[in-house]
């Protein structure tokens, strides 16, 4: 995996970027780097400024502050047509009056490539996305997934140094989405094209990205690899955004233990000082249940409030000792779905408990 902090200079570097519309500051002081060949996701809830950030990088919007450098050159002030990128939009924005081949060849015509070379390139691109049989079809005759592939082939036609993807999968249904997600990832690896994808879907980001930039309210909340962000979120926001999270307001530290409403829980490595608005958190999958609790600290006797079958796991909502705890338990281990009102002992393993700042 490429290392953006290594000796080689980053392929794309964003520093101190800012953009406002009227009084609304949409992007504030955003900075991050992308190494050559890396797949980076910009993840955040809608309205967090992630699409604006992408448009700034594409040059569709002009930044108020900061710089964007691509392959060593400052591109901050360049118009889009002088930058080196391909883009896939959420709507795909296919030209309705051109067939599949016509859409893919559009950019090649723009730059005046010779006819024969164009034909060869289009054929290769269509083969790449598996649409060789549909070259003569029009966008209105294609399924959503096929349209998405056309948009991708079109974006790759000019062999851009940077591929920008704006929520490219969000218009598709779940099965197609999962399938295309993997395909996209495979294609990116094979071509080695540096890719920046905007998404609000954390599962998507976690599964395809080398690194994820989490944004919130115009700012970068945290940057890191998927596993880092999942297991060591920097804030309550990131923790909650990347997956289900048990979180309780942390009242005080008592030595290596944390006091929360209704309980006192032992921590493996208690912080020296508390961050502002501290929360004590644990992922439901880390909660130990049933036989697992033997020999573990922070045991609590609770009653099952509800149980939801998730396929490979069961999500239990448990209540007791003034707390409500979610626990994801592999179905194979339980062998059945517990009934509401059933008594159950859970443990919150000290090593899995996190103290997170709750700001923002």
């Amino acid at each position: 995996m490429p290392d953006s902090t290594g000796g080689t200079p980053p392929y794309l570097s964003v520093q101190g970027l800012g953009k406002h519309y009227g009084a609304a500051q949409v992007v504030r002081d955003v900075g991050f780097e992308v190494a050559g060949g890396e797949f980076v996701c910009i993840l955040g809830p809608s309205g967090c400024g992630k699409t604006t950030l992408l448009r700034l990088i594409a040059g569709f919007e002009q930044a108020d502050a900061g710089t964007i450098r691509q392959a060593g050159a400052d591109i901050t002030a360049l118009p889009p047509e002088r930058r080196d990128f391909g883009i896939v939009f959420q709507s795909y924005a296919l030209f309705p009056n051109r067939d599949v081949a016509g859409n893919v060849v559009f950019g090649l015509e723009s730059v005046g490539m010779a006819r024969a070379a164009r034909a060869a390139r289009v054929a290769a691109l269509l083969a790449l996305v598996g649409l060789s049989d549909h070259a003569q079809k029009y966008p209105s005759q294609l399924s959503g997934g096929q349209q998405q592939r056309v948009a991708l082939a079109r974006a790759l036609a000019l062999q851009p140094g940077l591929l920008l993807l704006d929520e490219p999968l969000s218009a598709l249904d779940a099965n197609v989405r999962a399938h295309l997600r993997d395909e996209l990832r495979g294609l990116q690896r094979r071509l080695g094209v540096t890719t920046l994808m905007v998404t609000h879907d954390q599962a998507e980001a976690l599964s395809v990205a080398d690194r994820i930039v989490v944004m919130n309210a115009g700012r970068i909340e945290q940057v890191g690899s998927p596993s880092e962000l999942y297991t060591r979120p920097g804030s309550l926001f990131v923790g909650r955004f990347l997956g289900e999270l048990n979180a309780w307001p942390l009242a005080a530290l008592e030595g290596s233990a944390a006091r929360i409403a209704g309980a006192r829980l032992v921590l493996a490595d208690a912080p020296a000082t508390l961050p502002g608005a501290p929360w004590l958190c644990i992922r439901p999958a880390s909660v130990a249940v049933g036989s697992e609790v033997e020999g573990r600290e922070n045991r609590l006797d609770m009653l099952v409030a509800s149980a939801t079958f998730l396929g490979d796991a069961v999500r239990l909502a448990l209540e007791g000792e003034g707390l409500r705890v979610l626990a994801d338990v592999p179905f194979a281990r339980l062998g059945r779905i517990p009934a509401a009102g059933e008594a159950m002992t859970v443990a919150l393993p000290a090593a899995q408990l996190m103290v997170l700042p709750g700001h923002g």
Partner: protein
């Protein structure tokens, strides 16, 4: 690398725009040329005469002066004068060949007409020429306010034909009369002036008060009331003879009545537009119009022309029009024009006339 190619592309697009522009110019040039073609000497003539009469006069003029090509713009009396006034900044026409003297006076009052005494001015009947020291107009023909009466509808309704203006105020004609409004029609103004002359100021307005009770509607065009009478849309139209004659020739069942109290009348005259581009030929036209030859052409259409001694009565034209003309003081009438219009507007302009 991309920059160059993009630039190349966009200059190509601009070349395309250029080609489009060239096409547009190619389209526009012949149209411009159409307006500017001038191999021959041309004369631009505005005229409100009857179309057939105007064309006959132009043919006569062109036969006599083949070096001059006449471009005629025909239209109603008032729009032609409005156009001359609006075009004052750069006159487009050379000569107004036939327009009501009262309307010409409006242009003259704005200093838009060039005084000129045509060659045969002195041979023209004194009544038919501008007798000021510096004459601006010379008469072509004259016509009088008349009544168009639909005989077919009258027979159906058993209504007798009116003989006098006073007859028109009888209850039997209630709701059967249309006339133009003097606010937008010169024809109506001369009828009104005729009544004020024939009956006197006070009795004239009193007459119009009574007439108003019988009028179904006031329109905008001087000839329209006669046309409405001709098609049975009304029984009686206060108008003038020329459209009635045409309509009778077309087969309309109307008679043209010249009421016995006397008729308000109007001269149609020629005047040269100040700033005419073809001034020399405009004067040639004025000279020709004042000739007996031109008057003889007009006499085929109307009985009263610039030469008293030419006797004619075009087919279906009512006899004795000349005898019934009132003695009118055109200078005084021109001066009181605004006042008469205002008084008419005050009395009849805002009231809805009765219906049947």
């Amino acid at each position: 690398m991309w920059a160059n190619q993009t630039l190349g592309k966009s200059t190509m697009s601009i070349r395309m725009l250029g080609r489009l522009a060239a096409l547009a110019v190619a389209f526009a040039v012949p149209m411009l040329a159409a307006g500017a073609q001038a191999q021959q000497r041309t004369l631009t003539v505005y005229s409100s005469l009857d179309e057939d009469q105007a064309k006959a006069l132009i043919r006569g003029f062109e036969a006599k002066h083949p070096q001059v090509k006449v471009n005629a713009i025909l239209g109603s009396t008032a729009p032609i004068i409005a156009r001359v006034i609006a075009e004052a900044a750069s006159p487009q026409g050379d000569v107004i060949m036939g327009n009501a003297v009262s309307a010409l006076m409006a242009a003259d009052a704005r200093g838009l007409l060039l005084p000129y005494k045509p060659a045969q001015f002195d041979k023209v009947s004194p009544m038919m020429r501008d007798n000021r020291a510096e004459p601006v107009w010379v008469g072509i023909d004259a016509w009088a306010a008349s009544v168009c009466f639909n005989t077919a509808e009258a027979a159906k309704k058993n209504i007798p034909a009116p003989v006098t203006w006073e007859d028109l105020t009888k209850p039997i004609y209630r709701g059967q009369i249309t006339m133009p409004s003097p606010l937008s029609s010169g024809t109506a103004l001369l009828a009104v002036n005729g009544w004020l002359t024939a009956f006197g100021e006070q009795a004239g307005w009193a007459y119009m008060d009574r007439l108003h009770e019988n009028v179904a509607r006031y329109g905008h065009s001087g000839s329209a009331p006669c046309r409405q009478a001709a098609t049975g849309e009304s029984l009686i139209g206060i108008s003038y003879a020329a459209p009635g004659v045409k309509l009778i020739n077309e087969g309309a069942p109307i008679s043209i009545i010249l009421p016995s109290e006397g008729l308000g009348w109007e001269i149609e005259a020629l005047a040269i537009i100040k700033g005419a581009r073809n001034l020399a030929d405009a004067k040639v036209m004025a000279d020709w119009i004042s000739s007996r030859e031109a008057a003889e052409i007009s006499a085929k259409f109307l009985p009263i022309t610039a030469y008293d001694d030419i006797q004619s009565l075009p087919k279906n034209y009512p006899a004795n029009e000349r005898e019934k003309l009132l003695k009118m003081d055109f200078g005084k009438l021109a001066a009181s024009r605004e006042a008469v219009m205002a008084e008419w507007q005050r009395r009849y302009g805002t009231k809805v006339p009765p219906r049947n």
